[in-house]
């Protein structure tokens, strides 16, 4: 598998570390207990398109949001986490 780092371009899997589901959002500090349990433990785990976080630790140290198909392993898009998140914030 190769992942296109928005900064560095196409790189091999070995340069990256996986974190998982990029759609979960850290609850507010005073959020109810269940919201925290959901955030830390529950996952959609879809078969198909999956937004996920990767860390380009052996490269530019960016956190990246990749949209990848978990059945075909095809990567549809990659974005910097900072950009994807700031867009989400300004969009909401």
């Amino acid at each position: 598998m190769r992942i296109t780092c928005p900064h560095c371009g196409s790189r091999g899997l070995e340069e990256f570390t996986y974190r998982g589901d990029a759609t979960v959002r850290r609850p507010a500090p005073d959020a109810p207990h269940d919201a925290w349990v959901d955030y830390v433990y529950l996952r959609d785990n879809p078969a198909g398109l999956h937004k996920e976080l990767w860390y380009h630790g052996n490269g530019c140290r960016s956190w990246i949001v990749a949209e990848r198909n978990t059945i075909t392993h095809e990567i549809h898009s990659t974005r910097l986490a900072t950009e994807a998140l700031s867009e989400e914030k300004s969009g909401s």
Binding site: C8, R11, E14, E15, N58, G59, C60
Partner: protein, 195 residues
């Protein structure tokens, strides 16, 4: 007053030659990392432009300033600035970019190994999973990547046949071994070695 401490090199100074290629330790330079604070990149570039007539490169390349200064992009939001040994780089940069960026001395963090000679590209290709074709990894370009298991900053010299591997000091001996082993293994027969 006690004697000054003497510096020790992470690797022996002598160059290794095999199969027409050479692996050597690049001259030590002074290096400072520049990490622009939030939203200050524009001001920082303006300040650098004023002081050194350069701005931080957006691409992963190295640009040259006056007095042997080099600026290399080295992380998502970090650049390495280096200068010849003896420069008080931290002070120079502090003056220029006060409060616009985090400045951290990195002079001792890394050492640079230079691999040069005909066929060097095929040796680099044994260690680095990057497309090294000169149209893709162009002379002067830099990449943050892995050489085998070792993280490096790889730079292709502008004369195209030499490469710099900039590596964390503690890993320098390991990387040196790996490059030397790759050199000894020879140039694959399918490799086109440009004259």
């Amino acid at each position: 007053m006690p004697d000054r401490l003497l510096a020790t090199s992470a690797l022996p100074q002598e160059a290794y030659r095999v199969n027409g290629m050479m692996l050597s330790l690049a001259p030590q330079r002074v290096t400072v990392s520049i990490g622009p604070f939030a939203g200050r990149l524009g001001e920082l570039n303006a300040a650098l432009k004023k002081a050194f007539k350069v701005t931080l490169p957006e691409d992963f390349i190295t640009v040259a300033g006056p007095d042997g200064l080099l600026f290399t992009r080295a992380a998502h939001n970090q650049w390495l600035c280096s200068a010849p040994e003896g420069t008080d780089l931290l002070a120079t940069l502090s003056t220029a970019c006060q409060s616009l960026a985090a400045l951290t001395n990195q002079s001792d963090s890394r050492v640079t190994l230079t691999l040069s000679g005909k066929g060097a590209e095929s040796i680099v290709a044994k260690l680095v999973a990057l497309d090294l074709h000169p149209s893709v990894f162009v002379p002067g370009q830099t990449a943050l990547t892995l050489a085998g298991h070792v993280p490096v900053i790889l730079t292709r010299h502008t004369d195209a046949t030499a490469y710099d591997f900039t590596v964390f000091r503690s890993l320098a001996q390991s990387l040196h071994h790996d490059i030397f082993a790759a050199m000894n293994g020879g140039i694959p027969t399918s490799e086109r070695v440009c004259p």
